[in-house]
């Protein structure tokens, strides 16, 4: 290859991390390694789980809500393409074509409203993020398709400050400052006064002083942006499900006890992929090599685990939610219904041995995807703080 490419490759190979980053990674590993005391338990019993806590799932579909959203997009942001040019080159770039919008009707979920104000609808491949005045579509392995910003959304995402607003005929002119890291500057945005659509953005000073962009809006037939939910569209309200999960942490179902040890079944969750987790209070850590799946109505699943735990070397350990210390025992079954006639959950007995806890007539909370429900940002949803570190403290078993 050319010397230019060789030089570039040499540059990339020379990339080095922040000197403290490695230490932070090691520190997080140490935090994740704190051990939890092991408890043992074995019993067979029937337990009534707080079905009322969970209600009946799936809840009413969110298809209507998504339809409303899409209708709004077609009405407000029926953009077919955007052009922009950068002064100096004169080149115009086309960067957007709205295509049909589809969501997998088996796995689509509604995400909670997040701190940044977004509500998110998503199946495994397509995500729609909704923010007032701004909507975005993402599709895996394909270029991003962005539904056009309106002025308020643009200003919000540019972290605009010192916004000055003036009316000029049919347009509204916003002049604002922005800052990101060491970059800063002043921009001027013009928007259609009636629709709020951004028409131009021009740099006045600072980093993007030469920037000059303009948008062209084409016409779109509503059928170009369509949403076609399947029959019985199973959308799940993850916000409500998470709320229910946390509420269950305050419930105290009757414990099942034997030989002075006791266990409580806090809840059972199943998803569209046929995975199930039983949340048990009172069980101890399980060695990875001894991990066993529950048995659902006589069928033994394949072991399935989620990163809910504070990891301990070689063990699945209980995770903590408030005062509760819960062990998640998971399995893949191919298909999971709304109720189990009999659920057998293996729990720890003296570390390497197991006892089976048998629960009958157990309601199963159905959701689209267990991982998305419990770890939406790659960590348990009830855990706050910086991302990337150890997520939960190891628990302490139960009684």
């Amino acid at each position: 290859m050319s010397s230019k490419l060789d030089n570039a490759l040499a540059d990339l190979r020379a990339e080095r991390p922040d000197p403290d980053a490695k230490a932070r990674a090691l520190l997080s590993l140490r935090a994740a390694r704190r051990r939890a005391p092991r408890l043992a338990w074995a019993a067979a019993a029937t337990i009534a789980v707080g079905a009322a806590t969970f209600g009946a799932w799936p809840r009413p579909s969110y298809a209507a809500e998504v339809r409303t959203l899409v209708e709004r997009l077609t009405n407000v942001a029926n953009l077919t393409m955007r052009h922009y040019r950068v002064s100096g080159t004169g080149a115009a770039h086309r960067s957007l074509v709205v295509e049909s919008l589809t969501l997998d009707d088996r796995t689509c979920d509604r995400y909670p409203e997040r701190a940044d104000g977004y509500v998110q609808y998503s199946d495994r491949n397509t995500t729609i993020d909704v923010l007032p005045g701004y909507a975005v579509r993402e599709e895996r392995r394909r270029p991003t398709h962005r539904v056009e910003p309106l002025a308020p959304g643009f200003l919000a995402h540019a972290n605009a400050t010192n916004v000055r607003k003036a009316r000029d005929g049919s347009t509204t002119i916003y002049t604002f400052d922005w800052e990101r890291g060491s970059d800063r500057g002043t921009l001027r945005l013009t928007a259609d006064a009636e629709s709020g659509r951004v028409l131009t953005v021009k740099g006045l000073s600072g980093k993007y002083a030469d920037l000059e962009c303009e948008w062209e809006y084409g016409t779109v037939t509503p059928s170009q942006v369509t949403f076609q939910p399947g029959k019985g569209f199973p959308l799940y309200d993850l916000t409500a499900q998470r709320r229910s999960f946390l509420a269950a942490m305050h419930a105290h179902p009757e414990p099942t006890a034997k030989d002075g040890r006791s266990v409580r079944l806090i809840g059972v969750y199943g998803d569209e992929s046929g995975r199930l987790i039983a949340l048990v209070e009172g069980a101890g850590a399980v060695r990875e090599e001894n991990r066993r799946a529950p048995t659902l109505d006589g069928k033994r699943g394949e072991p399935f685990a989620m990163a809910l735990n504070g990891w301990e070397n070689g063990f699945d350990v209980p995770f903590r939610v408030g005062e509760r210390s819960i062990l998640a025992v998971g399995g893949s079954f191919g298909k999971v219904g709304n109720r189990a006639k009999e659920l057998v959950v293996p729990v720890t007995f003296d570390g390497d041995n197991f006892g089976d806890a048998v629960f009958r007539d157990v309601p199963i909370v159905r959701t689209g995807d267990l991982v998305r429900l419990f770890t939406p940002e790659n960590r348990p949803f009830w855990v706050t703080g910086p991302s990337g570190g150890a997520t939960t403290s190891p628990g302490h078993g139960g009684h």
């Binding site: 990674a25 993020d129 962005r146």
Partner: protein, 172 residues
């Protein structure tokens, strides 16, 4: 680094200590993820997450591939998960910045990264693994879970695309 030295040297796999693994491979994986994500903080997060996963699974590491290849496989999974999850709502200005010749970084590495990120992800990933991470084609096939021929094809197309981008007037 004092924290790192204070860690107990706990053996996780046969003869493998996680501290040693982090020490030896952190820079390597970080560089890999940094170039894939083009974002320093994200790369740090994903690198850290990769080692957490490695920590969890190191006992099950069978040695079918080299430790380095295995770690790249875990890192690549973290990256693909991140790519799937992330919201592509980078402010509009960032896009303009990447194309603004008046402000584009002039270093060769930045130029190459920009060119790579105009390629299809599969081509970019294969190219970075081979040319920057210096993995063999067999190792890349292991990481990606694809046939060797597929890797070769992706590399061929990536190189061809980069050569085209080297033609005069097509890059700053």
């Amino acid at each position: 680094m004092d924290e790192a030295q204070a860690l107990p040297c706990e053996a996780i796999g046969p003869g493998i200590r996680i501290e040693n693994v982090v020490d030896e491979h952190y820079d390597d994986l970080y560089r890999f993820l940094r170039h894939l994500t083009r974002h320093r903080e994200t790369a740090e997060d994903l690198t850290q997450q990769t080692f957490l996963v490695a920590h969890l699974r190191l006992r099950s590491f069978r040695g079918d591939a080299s430790l380095r290849t295995w770690l790249h496989t875990l890192a690549f999974r973290e990256y693909t998960g991140w790519r799937r999850r992330r919201r592509l709502v980078a402010p509009l200005l960032d896009r303009f910045a990447a194309r603004d010749p008046g402000h584009q970084a002039v270093e060769d590495g930045e130029w190459l990264l920009a060119a790579l990120h105009r390629l299809k992800p599969a081509m970019r990933e294969a190219f970075l693994m081979h040319e920057v991470q210096e993995l063999t084609i067999d190792e890349i096939a292991t990481v990606l879970g694809t046939p060797v021929g597929t890797v070769k094809a992706r590399l061929h197309h990536a190189r061809a695309a980069l050569r085209r981008s080297l033609e005069p007037g097509d890059h700053p």
